[in-house]
Amino acid sequence: MKKLMLGNEAIARGAYEAGVSVAAAYPGTPSSEILKEFGKYKDVYAEWSPNEKVALEVGCGASIGGARTLVTMKHVGVNVAADPLYTFAYTGVTGGLVLISADDPGMHSSQNEQDNRGYGRFAKLPVIEPSDGQEAKDYTKLAFDISEKYDTPVMVRVTTRLSHSQTLVEDGECIEPEIKDYQKNAAKYVMLPAYARARHVEVEKRMQLLKEYAETSELNKIEWASKEIGIITSGIAYQYVKEAMPEASVLKLGIVHPLPKDLIRTFAEQVETLIVVEELEPVFEEQIKSWGIDVKGKEYFSVLGEYSPELIEERLKNKELDNTLNLQNEIPPRPPLMCPGCPHRGVFYTLKRMKVTVMGDIGCYTLGALSPLDGMDACICMGASIGTALGMEKARGKDFTKKLVSVIGDSTFVHSGITSLVDVVYNQGSSTVLILDNDTTAMTGHQDHPATGITLQNKPTKKLDLELLVKAVGIENVQVVDPLNLDDLKKALEDELNRDEPSVIITKRPCALIDNTLSKEKYYVDIEECNGCKVCTRIGCTGIYYIEDDKKAAISNTCVGCGLCPQVCKFDAIKKVEG
């Protein structure tokens, strides 16, 4: 029976049907739902790993050990996992291994829009790309067969629009998970130079075989229509093309690396104009041009952002949108912001008041960079805050650290902050690190991690004690404070910023969306006391707003009673509703 499934659910289902018994991931939008869904199936093991490199290494071990294995991450996660990935492409697999790379054209929730088809070429891996939920399931399943047949890890590349679209998907038959025998084979799995040289030969042979496979595979197919325009495309862009250009012939690529050169040439010879429609980089276009085939692509389309059916129509049919329904100019922007009651809000409010330079990191708290908190000076990638603060200190001197902090979430700290903190101690940094511990991975949808004490499959586990860990690394000055208590927080910051040694402040308070301890007390603004100074609006909370006509503040119905705004009001105008 057909069921509505998120693209990510369909991938999980495909892995389950393929008999996968081990799966690992670090959550990252748009990939996060895959492993959560997979973990619900019976008799499978699924884990949140501390980061993507660890996830892939667990995957490599499980594969060498004979199990079919799924590893999932977002596009930038593959950067973290790139080291084991390139070498695992050399060793190949025992049980099939499929790596899902969820790319994010348009950067709905990412810091860049890299095109991970490039990893396929660079690491010499086959990459396949589904274009809807059904294919997401089918291709994931098939990817395990390809992995084992060609002795290679396989990348399945999806994009946000596929991961986060619901479509109808038909369940299929499940293969019983079967663990292949483990046999020691150092020449295949120990990549010291002498063995690796031999494996590189195998990699090149395998790429040749994969090219032949790509020529004949049903994943690459021509849909003939008018031969005036022929379009080569893949993934979600295929759906946009079918919508916008029903009259065109289409070569739909399911295997996007290696490319089927002969098939492409055959297609090119039969159409008058050949156009590549691919989001982000001209990966197909450049390869096809390099074979001397006349093809157009980025003349029409941008390397920036997501495409859409109307964009394709606009560019290929030269059709201008006649749009009279436009009120855009009158509408103020509505940027995302921290939730009411968010424990991070007090931190950024205080840092701004103290005029501190802030090296930031990736998570909900990155929103602290936006107005009115304006609380961040830099944010590069997962785990970069502590290292960038150390670098800044080395560039500008120790005195600078009296006004320098790094902020990093609990999950992000475990992901890749720990090693930088070791560096700070080892190389004698003295800046202050704030670990914003909200007891979850909030940004991606509240996944657990080693410091929450719960596993992906909801089992209680040994909880990583961040305070003890930080001390063990060699940090002697450690304070734990409640970020919703502004006086305590400010005092802790003053103490630690003034020290000539490195220190860590752990701000401890669960994410407001999972916190059962928030008082839920209601507040109101006593308009007799309010003098309209607007200081309360500087915390950037939807729970409190300023009424221009009255020149007074007011509490909105989104208030959860965190008690932050009464602390910033100098006139004691914000009061608890009694009873």
Partner: protein, 197 residues
């Protein structure tokens, strides 16, 4: 030529329930034996930002996103969000707006103005605009969060979804403990439409 596909845009502010609404509508389409695609919003955009989810159903649906100027109907949970996404509506499309105001951050802090008479302006551009106070009805039903389902009640009649199928979908998609409130909200939404016409 009559369009083969129904295109519905659901717009609002992160946290208002656009996702659940789109899932209920998609479930109804499945029950009616239609092909259906839903494009959802996850991650950063959910944190109180402007959000849009899109539902497309019909015999065969390719793209999960709707072309600008092509949507049959916009269901807006907040006034200025209706205006923000209006460019997606086809010229003779329909707009249903919850008469609710959620100030964006620049407005809250006094840096921008919330546009006045925005619903009048929408009504001028789109003759088939309906403005309803779904929030008050939702509070009457027992939970402010069910405002989205009040609007589903209005929408279902507007695009000819059988009410019993919508109820079935609500029962499938809404958690047990919130079911009664939501079924009531759906009924109130339907009543609203019959009173208006």
């Amino acid at each position: 030529m009559q369009k083969q596909i129904k295109d519905i845009l659901i717009v609002g502010v992160g946290g208002q329930g656009t996702l659940l609404t789109s899932r209920i509508l998609a479930q109804v389409a499945v029950q009616m034996g239609q092909d259906v695609k839903v494009s959802e919003v996850h991650g950063m955009a959910q944190r109180g930002g402007s959000v849009v989810t899109q539902v497309r159903y019909g015999e065969k649906v390719y793209s999960p996103i709707i072309k600008k100027g092509d949507a049959d109907i916009i269901l807006a949970f907040e006034k200025i969000e209706a205006a923000r996404w209006l460019g997606f509506l086809k010229p003779d499309g329909k707009v249903i707006i919850n008469d609710d105001r959620v100030d964006p951050l620049p407005v809250m802090s006094g840096k921008a103005k919330y546009p006045i008479n925005i619903t009048d302006k929408i009504s001028q551009l789109v003759p088939d605009t309906q403005i309803v106070d779904a929030t008050s009805l939702a509070i009457e039903c027992g939970n402010i969060k069910s405002a989205n389902v009040v609007l589903v009640g209005m929408l279902s009649d507007a695009i000819g979804l059988p009410p019993e199928e919508v109820e079935k979908a609500i029962k499938k998609m809404v958690p047990e403990k919130a079911l009664d409130v939501n079924l009531k909200a759906f009924e109130e939404g339907r009543k609203l439409l019959s009173n208006a016409s």
